[in-house]
Amino acid sequence: MREAVLKLDVAGHREAAGAVSRVAPPRLGVEELVYEVGGRRLIDGATVTLAPDTRTVVMGPNGSGKSLLMRLVTGLIQPTAGRISWDGAPLDEAMRKRQALVFQRPVLLRRSVAENLDFVLRLRGRAEPARRDALLAEVGLEGHARQPARLLSGGEQQRLALARALATEPAVLVLDEPTANLDPASTHLIEEIVGRAHDRGTKVIWVTHDIGQARRLADDIVFLSAGRIATHAPAAMFFARPATEAARAYLEGRIHIGQ
């Protein structure tokens, strides 16, 4: 078994959408992470350090454990073994509030667009119409505030989910294949919004299958294979000289058997 250490450093005091100041992000570490179901080890350890302020792209074939790793990192599920820490302290509620997760299929409340955002802003004690309007403008939904959220198009729904994540002023933004079901134009919009969030100092972890997207976005790549982190490398190096056969096979579109 390989052991896992996933460290994520984000720092600085920056401005979020709507000119909101943010508390300096903490350091996230995941060590010796294991997740087992029915005796089957779905996450089997990894050792990786993520530089602060980078856009990290997590790649790997279906079933490699990408989404699972993100759910573990964000505390949605509990690991079988291993440790997740923020600035060396265990992942607690206060720390969880400083991260945001965007799912592949956006889960929207059965309310209007504005009320979806108000719900989160109220949770964070920042229910200000100006803040909500700034977020809607940030994701290009300013004309849809009163519209039922579930009547939006797929791309608009995902942008609303993204606005909701940004409403929490996250230190770390985790996106689990947010553009997997979207057309190129919608994908581009999402990438732009996330890019701006990153420019304002949010650490971005983006799960994707799309090699082109990874090339566009990634500062560094974490490549998973069979529940293990097979490679972690700067994006340029990963694409130029993939260090493992699994990564090479994935990039070349070949089927790779084994790890």
Binding site: G75, L76, K97, V107, R111, L123, P148, R150, L151
Partner: protein, 235 residues
Amino acid sequence: MHEIAASFRLAVSLIASGDRELLEIILLSLRVSLSAMAVSCLIGLPLGALLAISRFRGRDGVLIVVNALMGLPPVVVGLLVYLWLSRSGPLGWMGLLYTPAAMIIAQTILITPIIVALSRQVIEDLDGEYRELFRSLSVPWHGRIGALIWDGRFSLLTVALAGFGRAVAEVGAVIIVGGNIDNLTRVMTTAIALETSKGDLPLALALGIVLLSLALAINAAVMSIRLTAERHAYA
């Protein structure tokens, strides 16, 4: 067949005549059953939501009990409330027996399990959809309950209607704790029971038709409000 036709004619003429006594009975029936429904919703919806989002040892047992209580016999509820409210009972000093308040209490006890059990199912389905979102946003349990009840409000209207239907149609509990006193505690169902016992079957049947029409009208009104509101709220 002839009797049924005569009852229909009688029911229509009763409604058309604007009979004051009938109007009083209808209004009291509505007051008692709608009040019981409102109180049951206030108690039952949060309880149903709490059950929906909670995971604890013995939860399955609690669900079985709550589901079983949906079939509470009205006479048993009436008897228990009677024992509590009678002069020698623990709450006898309140002097509530044979008043509409006692009938509201009995019907509330009768339909609260229905509200809890059905709302639990509705909210649990919705929670399955929202659970990860709420966890990722660190929504506290009371915030979850509030959001689930609010977002499930249109489905929960049907739950409330089921409770109302049970309340307005029952006779066993209200006749025991209300006493079927003319101009005080007589409601549609107890009036029907009385007329049946007196052998005035056409009048009893006519009252039954009025009661049925009333229930239909309320259901139609609520469902129409629900559909209109739903159309404006979400797809």
